[in-house]
């Protein structure tokens, strides 16, 4: 009897605790993201990137998008339109011309996150990074100056670099790529003498980091500086480096053609300019 009494009392007590109700009208702050009144710039971005490509451009400062251990400053608003116009003309439009709108809609990162300054790592600078093919962060947006093509190329190189990652993360390049410079990859690429990377068959210091970075750096450099530059560069680095770079170039051209149906260079079968020539023409027109 006593036992039953205990059980009853306990049941009452425990059930009583379960009867609180949630207030359905309670505001959960920050759910759904931050909000602010749209400006002309917001409308422009919506019209130019969200509607056609479902691409969000996040230019308002959000510390959680970046490495919390570094100092940044936000984007200067007029720079946003300058950068995104350059991205559209130099990166998106050549791809659309060679691979069609669906290609860009399918593979383009869904979120561009911008910040005004670079990330300074004590010796190196981070100009951009990609996360899972979804987000591309462009750093140093405040430094972009359309009158200085070298800066335009440097900033857009980051865009091409990060998009290159999306491509090889979707379909990997041939494993043969990894064998061309196998012995020259190094985690301490930033402290290696800068005279080394060219003769070793790389387009940049950072390309030495690993085969993935090498692949996207090579694509980005050829797209940004053009085929003529690449030929000159191969001459400048000596026979051994040139042979390796030529082998890499062949893999890239074949990869673009067979995997994505894109002519990387101009062909003479009537298809006209390749991706590289279209990109170069867009930079010149800017």
């Amino acid at each position: 009897m006593k036992k039953i009494l205990y059980i009853m009392v306990l049941t009452v007590t425990l059930l009583a605790c379960a009867k609180e109700e949630l207030n359905p009208d309670a505001i959960l702050l920050g759910m759904g993201g931050d909000t602010w009144e749209r400006t002309e710039l917001d409308d422009w971005l919506h019209h130019e990137f969200v509607v056609p490509y479902n691409m969000e451009v996040k230019y308002k400062w959000d510390p959680y998008e970046f490495d919390l251990g570094h100092n940044f400053v936000p984007v200067d608003e007029p720079q946003v339109k300058i950068l995104m116009t350059a991205i559209k003309k130099i990166w998106i439009e050549p791809y659309i011309e060679k691979a069609g709108e669906t290609f860009i809609k399918r593979f383009a990162p869904k979120r561009y996150v911008l910040v005004g300054s670079f990330q300074y790592n004590g010796g190196t600078i981070t100009r951009g990074f990609a996360e899972g093919g979804n987000k591309i962060a462009i750093l140093g947006v405040n430094t972009l100056d359309l009158n200085d093509k070298s800066i335009v190329r440097r900033v857009l190189r980051t865009v091409e670099h990060e998009f290159g990652h999306t491509l090889h993360q979707t379909v990997l390049y041939p494993t043969e790529w990894q064998t061309i410079c196998r012995e020259s990859y190094t985690g301490s690429w930033s402290s290696a003498p800068s005279s080394e990377f060219g003769p070793a068959g790389f387009v940049s210091e950072y390309a030495r980091a690993n085969p993935d970075e090498d692949f996207v750096e090579t694509i980005a450099y050829i797209l940004m500086y053009g085929r003529e530059w690449f030929e000159d560069y191969m001459v400048s680095v000596g026979t051994d480096g040139a042979a390796k770079l030529r082998a890499k170039e062949n893999i890239i051209v074949a990869y673009f053609k067979t995997i994505w149906g894109i002519d990387f260079y101009e062909t003479y079968d009537g298809a006209g300019d390749g991706l590289v020539e279209l990109t170069q023409a867009a930079i010149d027109r800017l």
Partner: protein, 478 residues
Amino acid sequence: MKKTVYYLIAVMLLLGTASCDKEYDKDQYLFGAGPDERLSAALAEYQSVLCEAPNGWFIAIGTLDRGAAGGAYRFWAQFTPNNRVVMYGDINATTAATEKESSYRLKAMQLPTLMFDSYNYIHWPADPALVIPGGSYGAGLTSDYDIHLSGDIRGDEFKASGRVHECPVIFTKATAEERQAVVNASGLVAIQATVEALWEPLKYPTVDINDFRIQLSIGKRLSSFSYIDDNGAVQTVTIPSFPEFNNDIRLTEPFEYKDIWFDRIRWNGTGYELNIGNTAYPVYDFGVPFYPLEFGVGKMYRILTIDRAALNTANGNSMLDPFLSVYTAAEAGLHTSATRDLDRLLIIFELNDQSVEQMRLRVMYHSGSTNYLGEGIFKLNRDDDGNVYFTDFVIASGTVGSNMNGANTGPKMAPNVLSYLLYSGTSTVGASATVIPPSGNKFKIDWAPNLTPGLTGNLGGFYVVGNPASYIPGTLSN
């Protein structure tokens, strides 16, 4: 035992039934609303407070960098409810004259946070690309632009702090006149110049708070306060500061020592004063630093630079007779060649090869566009009273014939300077064997008054013992 069980049952039943209230009730929260609801209300209130200041806000931020470019940066900002803000900044003449628009938002982070989320002047001190020269690459001047707001912000002034570096931030409501000054007359930099002119005549601004003496050094963005602590050591505290439009100097953080506390140096219309408790303590010019001058190897200073052109100007002279005549004679002695001019003398205390302290006299002059220096060494002696005296002058080896432009140049140039400095024994100098008679002067080293408008830095003096009107003045360095 049974009793205990019944008591327990009774208590549990009471608890059980008491918690049976099924209605959603605002009273369930100690403060009348849920945390999210309260946070949301706080953000809305903060935004309306910011937007409803008709003449905008001044925002002053003290950087963590306390170097030459660091200190307090001040901005004027007008917020509008559509997340826009226009700003002026006191960084330079352009930022003070050119309005810039950007965006802001209030966000619930660990604390309600005002974020200036697109670039404006307020970001310059924090810019890692060193938009403001100075600071360090990758950090700028180490400043904040996400600002934690908490507490009561409804007054005309409230304090806040940066989210990342916890930089001190002061918000002050602007008046209509102040807004006019900022928008139409580059007020943020104009006030810096106005206040600088008010401090300029005070070479060594000093305040005596009863028997506690503080010496001030007021800059455009940083103010320093020196005092002697209980152990007799000189302490200097540097605090970011900025001028307000009533000419007050406002500190971003208070000066605190024992029971003395202040965060403002008030302009009373004729002078500056510190208000502590109900008493106003005036700022006056002490004439020299108030703490003892330490001069020698390993001390605060060891070099005295005697440059007549710098010390004596059309507006005031720090080099006076009788030493002025000695110096003038040295100039004339050197001037036997029309193109030769004395630039400056340096008295340098240093260690010789045997680690014994000695005095080096360096004479710097030019002939045409070529610079020369002649040097001589004195034996350095100190008496029981701490006075110094110099004996046994010799031309420093290696300088005769080359830098001194001939062995006779040293005595020609400054025989009377050498004589003034020499305590005892005659020295024979140069090929013509000029005999330098000793003056017998001993010197007390102490601060010298800075009587030259525009000349900054501490001045020291070598005072002739027994005749303090006779002294060698110069700027001090190490």
